[in-house]
Symmetry: D2
Subunit: 357 residues, 4 copies
């Protein structure tokens, strides 16, 4: 018996733990595991892959990235945008299928995000023995209560805030940290609460920069002369405000991301020295946290169990502390966003954090 595994889409801490889980569990069953390289691309003839034995996964739990490589481009990329998802062309599928057949792959574990799982769903519908493992560092998939990588990203944010905190204090500055989260603000919200942020700005909660400035001036008058602001990359200024900024700057403005924009706006509104910092790719790298290693391993184990039971077209999920599975078609494109009146937002507000609303 031989099964395949591939990683697809963006890098995420814990990918190697999933590989470790799949190889470990398969090996206990006496199965062989084929790791395809660089996402689906490794399936194209003549096939780019390697046999994965337990000794090949020795020491990989602690490594970021993936020993298989991954890509968010290539021949299989399902474009997700405005509701349309491009199908993978029939000739590409046919070529890849030949590799599957030649290698006698009896189950294919696809570790990927929404786009990659949509491709997986297409392949499953065309008869492939597909098993999905969800990968979203933003932890924004409705079908699973937790995804690996999120805890590591939050930890990186918290480490960043811990660093900025003493600098902000020493210089009585506003420090703005831009973090990941294009649609969902979970990383900003969790990271901000754990890292002692004073202001957290999210894509899901429209905010008013002037209210934030007022909040900061109030802090100042109470003797808190520094302020830490966390902003998700997907947070956006109210309509018109960006234009105002550009206008004030006489058109000469050379802005970076939203963190930079917020920083300039707050500096101008409060008169306080303000600096911004963008974590960017640092959030995707580094050794995964204990939690992400465990979650990844358990996801890998469940993927092999699904293969053993012949339950294809399903995606591993985590619900109420148990690892289980759901049909892939029920899982894709179902985002879980921060609810403006949810428990975590309420907790943030309860300790006095400003969300700008």
């Amino acid at each position: 018996m031989r099964i395949g595994i591939l990683n697809s889409g963006g890098d995420c801490p814990g990918l190697n733990a999933v590989i470790h889980g799949v190889v470990g569990a398969a090996s206990q069953l006496g199965w062989e595991v084929i790791g395809f390289k660089d996402g689906f691309e490794g399936l194209l003839p003549p096939g780019d892959y390697k046999v994965l034995k337990p000794q090949d996964t020795l020491g990989i739990l602690k490594l970021g990235g993936t020993i298989l490589g991954t890509t968010n481009k290539g021949h299989f990329a399902a474009k997700v945008g405005k509701g349309d998802i491009a199908e993978v062309p029939a000739d590409i599928v046919a070529k890849a299928k030949r590799t599957m057949d030649q290698l006698e792959i009896r189950a294919l574990v696809i570790v990927g995000g929404d786009g990659s799982l949509t491709t997986g769903l297409q392949l499953y519908r065309e008869g492939w023995p597909v098993i999905g493992v969800p990968k979203t560092i933003d932890n924004d998939l409705r079908a699973t209560a937790m995804t690996f990588g999120f805890d590591s990203a939050v930890s990186t944010v918290v480490d960043g805030l811990d660093r900025l905190h003493t600098t902000a204090e020493s210089h009585k500055r506003i420090m703005v940290l831009e973090v990941m989260g294009r649609h969902a603000g979970w990383i900003a919200l969790w990271g901000g609460i754990a890292g002692g942020a004073d202001v957290i700005l999210l894509p899901e909660i429209p905010f008013d920069t002037e209210k934030v400035a007022e909040f900061i001036k109030n802090r100042d008058s109470q003797g808190h002369h520094s302020t830490l602001v966390v902003v998700a990359e997907g947070a956006h200024l109210p309509d018109g405000e960006l234009a105002t900024i550009a206008e004030n700057a006489g058109g000469e403005v050379r802005l970076g991301g939203i963190g930079d924009i917020i920083a300039r706006r707050l500096e101008s509104l409060t008169g306080k020295e303000t600096r911004s910092c963008t974590l960017g790719h640092l959030q995707r790298g580094g050794a995964p946290t204990a939690l992400d290693r465990i979650l990844g391993t358990r996801f890998g184990v469940m993927a092999v169990k699904l293969a053993e039971e012949g339950r294809f077209g399903r995606m591993v999920s985590y619900q109420a502390y148990h690892v289980d599975s759901v049909p892939i078609e029920e899982a894709v494109n179902q985002l879980r966003l921060v609810e403006p009146d949810g428990e975590m937002v309420k907790a943030a507000k309860a300790v006095g954090i400003c969300l700008g609303d």
Copy 2:
């Protein structure tokens, strides 16, 4: 309105996050918080305490320990053993009550383990406005799915295993790491899975050292020349085996804890160079993880909410991702142990980890 908070029992990462949560939430309500020092001792006249304002909790999220101090000794220590729990003497309670009255404390948040919450229960039954926050680094309380400190302890174990891993590999050794867990093996189990341990020995699962030795010899014959063993401090050798070890050693044996004992036994049974290491108090210190900071903060927020609603005699708990509460009397002395056929044990076995059974 004025409320009190105290920490009681052993040190645990996240205690300061609870204080941060309580002070932050109380401050939003316009309440004053009194922090009693060194557990219940701070309640004894003339009272050893300080007023906690938000600026006093600035930067404490990232600190281990507790800014209030704690103790697992003193006048209030409820001895837990063989089912008997000593009541706090009436005169001590009366004295402490006087401090409560003089300071007009309307709610007392007790952050403590089984013993301290048992004392809390006694005080509640005598009419005190007690609110409990569970503190067990072992995460072994049935009434809450998670407690703060556990994730930090597991992270310390994983860091230790990451360090020992390369040494074990380089020297082809068996390395034994003894970790916390007197009754429950959760830290060993989670830490072991995340840290890539090959063998995990728990209090809940009787193990056979010879089976473990056999497992290691098997690994050797397959080309895996190093082995990482995690053993919970509460794990115990089968009856008689300790005597055998002492006898073999001609009575001269000078043994440390269980980790040391297991190391010597495995060295003798396998003929392989073996070293042991005990993490001890390193597991209780250090900056709490993001998760523990958030959980602690949320627990603190909920404690204030219970105070606001006048729901005394209850303990904060975490269930299905929500922070809620349960009656203290239903919570104390209800341990949640590792189930030998539970999901985590199965996952460990699925990836080939030996549990010695």
Copy 3:
């Protein structure tokens, strides 16, 4: 006997260790230490300061920032630029002197960079009992072989590279990391060598982006599909190249710092996916490394010794593993830059690192 201490200029890991060293050593002599807040500003009447006792410095060794606060603005700021250094106006000096006299400060320890020490020199020449402690995270002061903060900044760079390394590998990308170093490239050079960078670009070594692109294409052809580039913020493109980039982009280009510029240029020249990341203020924060804590402590101890011996107008320095001192006037404005044919550059080239020349 009473002495004063102040921090001036930008934040730097190890500032608290200097304070710890000064307070510890002064306390052993039975002296009192006054810590002035926010740089020289704390000297202005009525004086903003606190008495520092050993218990006030408990636990500060591990903290970034400074418990005294600092500023690189204010009434004393010596503008360093084009060789001109502004003197502090006589009325400001006179005011500050009054505070010195009222508090009977017998020695003033100034922990600062070139600008602040120039101010210190002016004050010394006007009769103040000034002792300087050099602070430059860039480690670019000729008069001392090492300054605290540098090792911590390098460690942060290495941690960043370790994170980017796995991501670069997984995605076969070029990753560009922009680090501190406006005039001197030491942080980039040390960080790059320790973090396994493939390319290091410095202010001191003119580089040719096309040579770098050639180097990367060569790597690709040898099977190394990812490349890590470290660039110091003060590194600069050859004349004309920036204009070319803007032109190619049709004038629409919205560029960030040099890291971003290099990334776009390399992406365009090699056709490889490229990402950039700027560490920024993350390099100034966080717990100082062991080395920086020791160096800071030793600097503080020496400052007190100089005060004891009445040797004013001198700056603490580190030479050949010994902490010593030099006249401030010989120390300021004497930069130590990376020598293009120095030992470290040669070592980098010896292991195949490209410096773009």
Copy 4:
């Protein structure tokens, strides 16, 4: 041209950096590198080795241990004790020589401590092209101002002290941390100063436990209720004191290392709750610090340079910030111990640290 490299003796952070430096520099010269496994053992016919290309060293800078394996046992082990060093038997040398000849190894880089370099010296005298790289985590070799691994070990000690600090504070305890250093106390001294220890006990400085107890009681009376003690494993109680302890304990005493002994003694003398912790092998593992990676890399580069220049029988050394070399015979068995009146000891005393003398 082909050169060999082997690691011998105990594990040490930075070994992989040396390998990285040797392979990188050799590759620039177009040379091939053979890595022998498990120390000198890999030289025995048929030879256990692998060809090391640059891609084999990708990502190893950040790994503890050594990718080549090492051993402090085996056929070549030079027993160092009481001034006698065992020669390697002639037949073993002859066998190993055959491997050298067959593989046409033109230079052999031996990365090892005193024992291994003594073996290296023997081989050099018998005509082998030996180049030594010093490896001593204790940094106690007179011939070089610094050795890789030391900074990493000190960092681990500091991390341990940071963890114990908050626990000690919270519980008002004495915490004793036993660290490496059988003959030289550098790790304890540096780690203790950087980690904020209150007491440091070294092999080189005879101490009086009662003086230490007095110091702690004094602290208590001044309001410092917790004390951090660092003790090097090679520190020893004054004659007779151990007997007293055993006697007091009625012969039933079951003691661990010196840390444990000191802890019991201080608990008995001060009446304060005391706990001890032994770092052990944790100090040898983990990612090397930036400094150790750089030093290791530079040592590797110099080893190749010595090979290029045909300067055999020499050991790489570090002096006054330059990497240079010395004859192996002048380097072995020349320890550099902590001088009781040296600068570092004086600095420790200056800030009020007790050394027990």
